[in-house]
Symmetry: C2
């Protein structure tokens, strides 16, 4: 039983499938658990609610090591705790692949729930949380850089031994962002208290997710790359280092920021008069019209993040 002092409960559910949403050779069970929990908890926060509880359904092959499952559940519990919630129930079954379905519940504490439909022309667009880091980390892993944490950290250290120390730390932070996103949970209710008109968590990419806000609200969202580059939580230096290592053009960092998913930053719109609360960065504004522009142009890669396939 979960307390719902507000008399309303926010609920969201999400499914992670091995090979599609995670790979056991790229992420350890603790990180997979944290990430699975984070996706749902961030969704609750993006509605303006405080996460209260998770329910976990886990399917796994019979020959999977018990320690792997315990580490997964431990990761879920740790992430849950970091968001102020508890694991309130679960179910397990055998299956050929690992699958984790999580439902998160949250309490609105008397505030209105914020949706994707309330953005109004004149509002400012702001973000809090990392952007682009998880996508860059995934590309490093896909390119064979970064190694397999489950098999030991030595491999990663070898792979990243080429660049200098600072750069190695930058790249490691991107891989860590892929494995273990850190959504800014308290910023969700904070934004609602500050008058947010619409909010979403960035799971599929900034363009794709703000596209849902633009569509839902019947407005155009105009982003500025200079404001994005100046946001403290956009790790431009690390992204540029990753782009160099991967032989990508220098401006590739912006692609990760705009189209990369899985960071679970929060993006919201606020009335221009009051603006966002502390810790948020304005990256654009809401106008009459439709769709998303970046520096006045339509972004061509609006499809956002596609999950990798095994």
């Amino acid at each position: 039983m979960v307390a719902a002092p507000d008399g309303r409960v926010v609920a969201t559910t999400d499914l992670l499938v091995e090979g599609r949403h995670f790979r056991r050779d790229w992420s350890g069970p603790g990180d997979i658990g944290r990430k699975a929990a984070a996706r749902n908890l961030a969704d609750v926060a993006a509605m303006g609610a405080r996460p209260t509880a998770l329910l976990v359904a886990l399917a796994a092959p019979g020959d999977l090591a018990v320690s792997w499952v315990l580490d997964l559940v431990g990761g879920i519990a740790v992430e849950c705790s970091s968001a102020g919630a508890v694991v309130a129930g679960g179910d397990t079954s055998s299956a050929d692949t690992v699958m984790v379905a999580i439902t998160a519940l949250g309490d609105l504490a008397g505030q209105a729930a914020v949706t994707r439909t309330g953005a109004r022309p004149g509002d400012v667009v702001a973000v809090t949380g990392k952007l682009g880091a998880a996508a860059a980390g995934l590309e490093l892993l896909t390119a064979g850089l970064g190694g397999a944490e489950p098999a030991g950290r030595g491999e990663r250290d070898r792979a990243l031994a080429g660049p200098d120390q600072d750069q190695a730390a930058d790249l490691a932070s991107l891989i860590s962002a892929h494995r273990r996103p850190e959504p800014p949970y308290p910023a969700g209710p904070q934004a609602v208290g500050h008058g947010a008109t619409a909010m979403i968590d960035v799971s599929d990419g900034l363009i794709a997710d703000l596209g849902h806000v633009a569509d839902g609200s019947g407005v155009r969202i105009e982003l500025r790359s200079d404001l994005i580059a100046a946001a403290p939580l956009v790790p431009v230096r690390s992204l540029a280092a990753a782009a160099a290592l991967l032989d990508r053009p220098g401006e590739h960092w912006l692609r990760w920021v705009l189209a990369g998913g899985d960071d679970h930053a929060l993006a919201a719109t606020f009335p221009a008069e009051t603006g966002p609360p502390g810790g948020w960065t304005i990256i654009g504004k809401v106008a009459e019209g439709r769709g998303i522009t970046v520096d006045g142009r339509k972004w061509s890669d609006a499809a956002g993040w596609e999950h990798f396939r095994s």
Copy 2:
């Protein structure tokens, strides 16, 4: 967002995996959906709560027909509606096998939540809902009797053409009970209002599930087969017909009732002075001690229902 007028929300989650909990050649998608929803809704009712909402996570192969998925979701929605709840959210993903994870939420409407731990010596044990029918239906299907509804009802009608009309209806009702359980949802909150001291839904078998109550409450539960045979919702005639068709001994009906799962009847304990409300049948009593007895003897098949494996 789901209303939680009580200020507490009851939540439960459950996972169904193709080949383990259902077979696509034995049940159509509508029935699989109804059953998946029923399992969770019955769990909520067994806590004494009124089901309010379901969240559904569905994994399915990319080549699965869209109509199959729509029928599954339709079945979930129909069952949900029959319990007075709504589908409040969902997520989908591709995977090699079909997997459905459902979370159900419920409202206690100011009543105490009932658990498995409150049964006291002197209480009576009562049930409401079908018992044994789903297990007998599964054995008929396993024996190749009853045919595959997804492939058309003709096959079933042929298989059941041997017995007379009444008997055919009896057997069809058992197969239907396996495919489409009908938990007595309102009886959960009703039992709590009537002073139930412990309650559980019968998903793994009467002995196995009442065993959880006996263990959790630190008591012995003494059942009487004559009282069980007299319960209006134990379909003794149909079970006996199925036993005959399967060349089982006549007393096999009791085995289905005691050890058969998946009917989602409700079993509860009540103070002897007040007894159960209308619609419930007393089948035994609570005593000092441990474990379960039937007619004074330990039931030898206490393992209850094992899900079939593909």
